[in-house]
Amino acid sequence: MADQHAAAAVQPEHMEPAQTQAEAPRTTGTAIVITSGKGGVGKTTSTANIGAALAARGRSVCLVDADVGLRNLDVVLGLENRVQHHFLDVIEQKCALEDALVQDKRVPSMVLLPAAQTREKDDVRTEDMAALIEDLRKRYDYVLIDSPAGIEMGFKNAVVGAQRAIVVTTPEVSAVRDADRVVGLLPKGIEAQLIVNRLRPQLVRRGKMLSVAQVDEILRLPLLGVIPDEPEVVIATNRGEPLSLKEGSTTGEAYRRAVARLEGEPVEIEDYSAEPGGLLSRLAAWIGGRR
């Protein structure tokens, strides 16, 4: 291991500049796993929205649905009827990688690698998954892996090829606990960032919901985004249209800002704790907060 690193570090010195030009190997992309531990907190919706927003920014993106047996990233993206093969077919060499990839119908630089619906998570070998992700990283700027809920085999396979992790949680104690557990299980060296999904500003102001600060108190992860709870999410999910592609959508805007942060832009975190009303309602909130 140490030798490999040494060799890799030394290599550029020995490389001929001309050769580097000629080969022009694209820089390897980044594999990001989207995970949460708890189910139903919005992993798949977040994967679809982040992927679409990245593609809309001109990045090439591959979404990998790692939820073998319970796939639904294709449904959320509205691509279900275009799926022909899945990543287990690729691993088992039943088809070429290109044949399994489904191109998105709105943003052409995004593709989906679907999960097998009729197989089980234990059918996937961790080393095969690692090799597959490695391969995809050579072709795409971003490889987003939608992890299944839980911390078993499916989670391990989803995490294995990733360099970064986006941990999705809702402002609920149980979701935060599971997110914390999952962060503890991430392999060393994976850089984790947090998305707080389904925040209801009004409830937070009344002290009935965990605030972002209270979530941060436990998880202590860099905050990638705060996504407000809007009815439009349910509608868009059922229609198979990522909101991050829709102008004028609050949720879509929140995802676009999260993606800007993902790419290292210094975008301020939305402050949902601020009271929009006048002095009287601010006073009421203040009194409510002190109770």
Partner: protein, 266 residues
């Protein structure tokens, strides 16, 4: 005033407040509150000067037998010594100093109720509101740098954990544990010695895990789900958040877990 106390050596029954027959219902109630906890424990009974009626005492022993608690000995005046002989229990001498009275706690301890070992109790009630006299610590043994090739102390090694322990992670250590970071809910620290958390302690901490009640637990924000020191246990109050946490030290005093603001030893 507690009737039943858990100690390292077993249960202590303080039975001088009223005639035994009158205390029985309360004892029955307390045992019923956490029936499994007492299995296999031994019990020592402390009486005032008057021996209890044989009928009431037999009832007590029958009740304890239901919970598989065995009588081990009695304390009390000369009349009790005779009673012990009749009941074929060991006579352990007069009631120890402080027994029969509300325990005096130093440094302004506010209500520290029964440490009914194992019973769910309220950490907040154990928290001392103010310190009037500093806690006097025994001088710690001086730390010296290890010589080359010298193994770390084998008697009670201290484990240093850098970084936060997340839910599901646990450290079990023969010796003491120091955590530089938080201990999140669902994480567990078990040490036969002391536990120091330079951060928030929100998980479970068990110091003195092999029965050492002199062990202590320190944290910058001491808000554990559950705290155990030796044989004593305390649980966090439900649904309460402290606004301005300050460093605190938990230790056992007079058979109960007491939490005090930390004042450095002088």
């Amino acid at each position: 005033m507690p009737i039943v106390r858990g100690t390292r050596n077993g249960l202590e029954f303080d039975l001088f407040a009223a005639p035994l027959a009158e205390l029985l219902p309360e004892i029955r109630e307390k045992l019923a509150a956490s029936p499994e906890f007492y299995h296999g424990a031994s019990a020592v009974f402390s009486f005032g000067d008057a021996a209890p009626g044989d009928g009431a005492f037999d009832q007590l022993l029958t009740l304890l037998a239901e919970y598989r608690i065995q009588g081990a000995g009695v304390r009390g005046g000369p009349a009790i010594a005779e009673f012990a002989a009749r009941a074929s229990l060991a006579y352990l001498g007069p009631v120890a100093k402080g027994g029969g009275k509300v325990h005096h706690l130093s440094h302004g301890a506010r209500s520290v109720d029964a440490d009914f070992a194992g019973a769910r109790a309220d950490l907040a009630r154990r928290r001392l509101r103010a310190v009037r006299e500093p806690v006097t610590e025994a001088a710690p043994s001086p730390v010296r740098p290890a010589k080359d090739g010298e193994p770390a102390s084998e008697a009670a090694p201290t484990r240093l954990q850098r970084g936060t322990l997340r839910g599901g992670q646990a450290i079990r250590q023969r010796g003491s544990i120091v955590v530089l970071g938080d201990v999140n809910p669902g994480a567990e620290l078990v040490a036969t010695g002391d536990i120091v958390v330079v951060g928030s302690l929100r998980g479970i901490a068990h110091a003195g895990a092999q029965g050492d009640a002199s062990a202590c637990v320190f944290a910058l924000d001491l808000s554990p789900t559950q705290l155990r020191i030796g044989p004593h246990i305390a649980a966090a109050p439900e649904g309460e958040r402290r606004r301005n946490p300050a460093p605190e030290l938990a230790r056992v005093e007079d058979g109960r877990i007491v939490i005090a603001p930390y004042t450095p030893p002088r």
